[in-house]
Amino acid sequence: MKSGYLYTLLGLLSFSSLGVLHKVADVKQCRPAAVNALIYGWSLLFSVLTVMLIKDSTPSAPASVISIAVPFGVAASIAILAFQAGIRHGDIATSWLAINLSAGIPTIASILIYNEPLSFQKTIALLLIPVSMTLLFIDKRHADRRREQSEPNAVASGRVRR
């Protein structure tokens, strides 16, 4: 059990590092299309190595598996491309939440397609998603207005923009 919690901590650190690296890529002015292509290129290599060396198997799979995997992989790639382009216009603190709130979509899809039960807790969780997104957007608009108001002053007083 102790090792299980250590793995949980390592999982948490890995996902958090991923979010921070998205911001680092933006700060280092990496192009979103290049970052997206390279994330998936490297991940493809790592996953092939995992299947072959750790699982001691081969990457071959039935056509039914491939036909499900490829379109959903394309959808995830579109997500990373849009996200990396989006953080040029926003903060990682709020953008990371916006993309992670998408966990509600498979929940809704499971309810609609597979008739999974909708519990009270799930209902509250799903209702909180648009509320949270709206609050993030309001905060973003306020931040942009503050920036627009402060930038002419900063230029006039000779202060350097961050």
Partner: protein
Amino acid sequence: MKRDSGIWLRLMLVAFVSNGLGPFGLKILTERNLSAFQPQYLVYWYLGGAVFGLIAFLKSSRHVAAREVALGAAMGLCSLCGQTFTGLALSNGVPGHVAFPLTTGGSLFLVAAAGIFLFHERVGPYGVAGIILGIVSLILLSIV
């Protein structure tokens, strides 16, 4: 570069919808009794993403910078490690209602903290409220 909240919202909505669709394939795989092929599924899932990523990249450029290669590798590794460690946690006896809220809610908290303290981002009261409600929502989705 001028930061535009309208563009940010549009791109985040695209990311929100497509990122939500991305993992749903695993649910379909399970429903069709194909879970045994999960490692192979991930290979083709990444292949689909890589082909789309390559096409999108080649439309705009044909060269990559060393920092993009290094950061792409680090991010790919983080993505794979995150999924692998979460899977190992579950198989080592950590219940899902503990592992998922810790990894998703915890990562949201840590990344928001990094944005504020490392990158000096300013989050206003609406943003703080949005982050707290978002973390609560994700924790509720993880434990039910």
